[in-house]
């Protein structure tokens, strides 16, 4: 196991490559999740506003 992790002395290079790749993908997914929450909040606010106006929705599709 130790031998495997050492990568024949190339551990920093090998794990540095894969570690940053994993990190980048995780960060991308976290950012998307945050954006989804922000969009949902915004849409919920819009829906509330529309509700107060008597359910009128703008016709532009």
């Amino acid at each position: 196991m130790i031998e495997f992790l050492a990568m024949g002395g190339h551990a920093p290079y090998v794990w540095g490559s894969y570690g940053v790749a994993l990190l980048a993908m995780v960060v991308e997914m976290v950012l998307l999740r945050q954006r989804r929450k922000a969009v949902n909040r915004r849409l919920a606010r819009l829906a509330r506003l529309n509700g107060e106006e008597g359910g009128a929705t703008s016709p532009d599709v």
């Binding site: 540095g16 490559s17 940053v20 980048a24 991308e28 969009v39 819009l46």
Partner: protein
């Protein structure tokens, strides 16, 4: 034939695209996770160390797929941008914009893993040779595209201007690809047919292929997810969005 065409155009309408993307994205994401596990297993457990480079060559299984993805995605982004520019297809504009961050991420990962591979192999993290420089330009093209999109307030003008930038930048993709042939580069040429023991070659090639598919599936899942959010933001006042407001994006 005509009916089929209608079917395809149907998916270009924002609500249909939104629903379809929402159904498909989790499958692509799940497939990506499985393929990454399989690819890493083949690449790290089954594939033996390289007779010359030892274990540092295993960086190839992330370096090469990310390099391919950064180029494929750029061309795909330019195609969507062109469709948006010429035919005013809203979902195509959204797709072009949604591809850019993921493409930039792959371009960065390619450069990063390349630098970490270069150090033990060439003795340097970076060298200004044609392959490395043109790949760095690709990253800047992605970033420029995103910056231009963000800098222009009007959505339509932002889409048009950045589409032209994306199209002009396509010229860089064949330059990257053929740079190792056209110029004398420190970077090696295409090595899919690298000559060593054939059994080794096969298992390495399979690992590379599986990792490439994994990156593709990941990219599709993430891009569809981002395109859905982009559509919701753009169309937030449209009836179809209001109909789906209660539902999670």
């Amino acid at each position: 034939m005509a009916e089929q065409r209608v079917q395809w155009f149907k998916f270009a309408s924002p609500p249909n695209f939104y629903d379809l993307a929402g159904r498909l994205a989790p499958w692509f994401g799940g497939l990506a996770a499985i393929l990454f596990v399989v690819g890493l297993y083949i690449g790290f457990i089954l594939a033996p160390p390289d007779y010359q480079q030892g274990n540092s060559y295993r960086i190839m299984f992330i370096h090469v797929p990310t390099a391919w993805m950064s180029m494929f995605l750029y061309v795909l982004m330019a195609v969507y941008a062109a469709i948006g520019l010429i035919w005013r297809v809203k979902t195509a504009e959204v797709m072009a914009k949604a591809i850019a961050p993921t493409g930039a991420m792959f371009a960065f990962l390619c450069l990063w893993s390349g630098a970490l591979w270069g150090k033990p192999t060439w003795g340097t993290y970076w060298v200004w040779d044609a392959r490395l420089t043109s790949q760095l330009i690709l990253l800047f093209l992605y970033l420029g595209y995103m910056a231009l999109h963000a800098a222009i307030e009007d959505r339509q003008r932002a889409a048009n201007a950045s589409a032209i930038l994306a199209l002009a930048g396509v010229v860089n993709v064949p330059i990257i690809y053929f740079s190792v042939v056209w110029w004398n580069t420190l970077h090696q040429g295409a090595s899919i047919t690298v000559t060593s023991a054939p059994t080794m070659e096969t298992v390495m090639f399979v690992a590379l292929l599986v990792m490439t598919f994994a990156c593709w599936m990941y990219a599709i899942a993430v891009v569809l997810w981002r395109a859905r959010l982009e559509l919701l933001e753009r169309e937030r006042r449209a009836a179809w969005v209001l109909e789906r407001t209660g539902e999670k994006a």
